[in-house]
């Protein structure tokens, strides 16, 4: 990969913009603002990782001393612990490093430098499986790659069913920005012409295997759709990006916590940040944890940020005309709430009292695994190395109104041969018969799990813990968050509908899991600084500018008004692009 020249941050000057966070949101803000000729300082709390040396997605398990497992002094929090214990979960754990549950996935040794050590980053309150990545690129280094659009079924959901608030924009406002994200970053998929899941400008799609084609045909008879995984992966290559290769179907896409050595899968460093550096307009400072947005005493506008160097512990200030937060839904809310001043005693941009509130996400857990009998004993196919398997879009509350719950859910699924036969652990017995069964059934399993919309509620929120601080002395978040009745009824329907679909397709059901996973499990937290037309009920306007502070923007998932059931990354980037275009034009005209 070409070498990147990193400019040294000059804290004596006033930048055109400071961007806080370097994931999907911060990376996109850096890309768009620098493309407008603005001088941008990008501050990332984590370290700059040579990510291509970290993931080793083509390494064979037996080439690693622990077959991909992390060293014995490290520990990952287990599912039961999230439900039995209270945060901070690392408290009392006798291990040198403690990580969130993601670190328990296969190949955990490859993500240990990406995820935060829970010992350094406690939080308190209600049970929540909070997954954080502090490194250049944030969670885009390990994201699941499912790249979906929202539609007016989502943006105008409140008008459709009467619950909550509409977004202050419609699909027509954002469509051209989704197009730009598709073209700039690359996305693989198959056109389906669904009004509730708009198509992207797709590159070459991944392909379905025989089991998936069979299920697709059966579901079509139920007026449901199974489509190849819409992956935020360039399968045809991107001529404008010298840091990324096209997908060669080779990597450990589903064997490890994610990430792609050749950067065919989108990650923020190679997709957005390195190209932004090549403009000469971007300065990056890593190991820089912003702890406060500073405001001008006279004008009340943002004037910069205060940050801690996480290696030296020293404090610094940086100045800018515009401050853009992209620190993640929960960290941006934390930062606003921490930024208290005489003018803003409840935290910055919080005259509405909505910062930290209307916190929502995706509920998950219900899942199904089945055996496609026709595939038992068949020749091995190669189903691994695809960026993903398949997606079954939402089918509830589209034409009919479900009597039990509002909104909908979709299924992510996968099937066929994988490098490691997961079903071996569920196959009874031992000996030659066991061995043959594992071998014969290797390509015959199919499974899927649901992601459902959690309704935003004012009562679900985060605030600042009055006593607990992180390793750098910064007060931490306290959770007040629980799934409600609508979510639990939806989850029951997820399991029922999964069974119905597999039965219709003649798939032998091996395992039907009705368990709802702990809050936070989907890593799709959203909505703590929502957009809206009314400053009394929202934090940001439709261009993600704070109603109270026009030169402050929050461009991550915290701005989302509702969660929809589609994975949020592509929408975060499309919205951010639109907002940054808007602010750059406004600043050129001297309006901000």
């Amino acid at each position: 990969m070409p070498q990147i020249e990193v400019k040294t941050a000059d804290l004596s000057i006033t930048y055109d913009a400071i961007v806080v966070g370097s994931g999907a949101a911060g990376g996109m803000a850096a890309h768009v603002l620098t493309s407008h000729g603005m001088q941008v300082l990008l501050l990332e709390a984590g370290k700059k990782l040579p990510i291509e040396k970290e993931l080793k997605s083509m390494e064979w398990p037996y080439e690693h001393p622990r077959r991909g497992h992390m060293p014995p002094d490290s520990y990952a929090i287990r599912y039961n612990e999230y439900n039995i214990r209270q945060p901070p979960y690392a408290k009392g754990v006798n291990a040198k490093h403690v990580y969130s549950y993601v670190q328990n996935w296969g190949g955990s040794d490859y993500s240990k430098n990406i995820l935060v050590d829970e010992k350094d980053h406690p939080y308190t309150g209600t049970q929540y499986a909070w997954v954080r990545a502090r490194a250049l690129g944030g969670k885009t280094n390990i994201w699941g790659r499912l790249a979906l659009r929202l539609s007016d079924y989502d943006f105008k959901a409140a008008s459709r069913d009467g619950y909550g608030e509409d977004w202050p924009l419609s699909y027509a406002d954002i469509e051209s920005y989704y197009d730009r994200v598709d073209r700039y970053l690359g996305i693989a998929g198959h056109k389906e012409n669904l009004p509730y899941l708009p198509d992207s400008i797709f590159q070459r799609s991944t392909r379905l295997n025989a089991s998936e084609v069979m299920l697709r045909e059966k579901l079509a008879g139920m007026d449901r759709v199974l489509t190849p995984y819409r992956a935020g992966v360039t399968t045809d290559g991107l001529k404008h990006n010298k840091y990324r290769s096209r997908c060669y179907g080779r990597g450990a896409c589903d064997r490890r916590a994610g990430g792609c050595d050749i950067h065919a899968a989108f990650d923020s460093p190679t997709g957005l940040i390195y190209p932004a550096m090549d403009t000469g307009n971007l300065t990056l400072r890593t190991n820089s944890t912003v702890r406060e947005v500073l405001v001008d005493k006279d004008t009340g506008k943002a004037r910069g940020v205060a940050f801690t160097d996480t290696e030296t512990g020293k404090s610094y200030e940086a100045k800018a005309k515009l401050v853009v937060l992209g620190a993640s839904t929960l960290e941006s809310a934390r930062l606003l709430l921490l930024s208290k001043s005489r003018q803003y005693p409840n935290g910055l941009a919080n005259s509405s009292g909505h910062v930290g509130h209307n916190f929502c996400e995706h509920i998950m857990g219900p899942s199904i695994t089945g055996l496609v009998k026709d595939q038992v004993g068949q020749l091995r196919t190669l189903d691994d190395g695809r960026p993903g398997g398949f997606y079954v879009p939402r089918f509830r509350n589209l034409k009919e109104k479900n009597p039990n719950f509002l909104r909908g859910y979709g299924f992510e699924g996968d099937s066929g041969t994988h490098m490691f036969p997961d079903h071996a652990n569920d196959t009874p017995g031992f000996g030659a018969a066991f061995k043959k069964k594992v071998r014969d059934q290797a390509g015959a399993y199919i499974s899927m799990g649901a992601f459902g919309e959690v309704l935003p509620r004012y009562e679900n929120y985060v605030d600042i813990d009055p006593t607990v601080k992180d390793r750098w002395g910064i007060p931490v978040l306290r959770f007040h968050y629980k799934f409600g009745d609508n979510e639990h009824k939806m989850a029951a329907d997820m399991a029922d509908s999964a069974r119905e679909m597999f039965e219709q397709a003649g798939i032998e059901i091996m395992k039907l899991d009705r368990t709802v996973l702990t809050e936070g499990w989907s890593i799709h937290e959203l909505g703590t600084a929502r957009m809206g037309a009314d400053p009394k009920k929202s934090v940001l306007n439709q261009f993600q500018q704070a109603h109270d502070v026009p030169n402050l923007m929050v461009v991550d998932g915290s701005s989302h008004v509702s969660a929809s059931c589609q994975n949020p990354t592509w929408t975060i980037m499309a919205l951010c692009w639109r907002s940054c275009d808007h602010i750059a034009d406004a600043m050129k005209k001297g309006e901000v």
Partner: protein, 160 residues
């Protein structure tokens, strides 16, 4: 030469290797413990006419290394205690310790363990992990075709 004969030779070679190895120091298990674990694992995933089993894939050595660096004493103890139970069970069923029993006698012990014991689940899980992440498990047994450069994804292309 027939594929089957090749496998037999491989199995004999592995057994010979084991005899040499039994003389050497293991990192966690004693020589006696190691032999029992190695045999349990081979009974769970044996050599068959398709591919070599857990012994050839050096599964016991992998577990030995992991346990040597395991910080949780409870995990270590559960292996030691489990191995003792295997011998005790064999004495009550076969009249002799596990390794002194006939192959049929050993299989009968594992059969009994599989019906009731937590230790069997522990050994089985470890065997599965070590075997299917080994060269033999991935390439010979499962005939995994991936981790190669593909110009086109495998599967069915849908009509537009």
């Amino acid at each position: 030469m027939e594929r089957r004969e090749l496998l037999k030779i491989a199995a004999v070679a592995a057994t010979a290797g084991r005899l040499v190895e039994a003389q050497t120091q293991h990192k966690f298990f004693s020589a006696e413990e190691f032999a029992i674990v190695d045999e349990l694992m081979e009974i769970i995933i044996p050599t068959d006419d398709h591919s070599p089993g857990a012994r050839s894939a050096l599964c016991a050595a992998y577990v030995d290394e992991r346990l040597a660096e395991e910080p949780d004493a409870k995990v270590k103890d559960s292996w030691r205690a489990g191995i003792k139970q295997v011998d005790a069970l064999s004495k009550s069923m076969n009249g002799v310790p596990f390794m002194a029993a006939t192959p049929e006698g050993r299989t009968a012990v594992v059969e009994r363990m599989s019906a009731q014991e937590k230790f069997f689940a522990l050994v089985k899980e470890a065997t599965i992990h070590a075997y299917y992440t080994s060269k033999i498990g991935i390439h010979q047994e499962m005939e995994y075709k991936g981790n190669v450069l593909l110009n086109q994804f495998v599967g069915t292309e849908l009509a537009p």
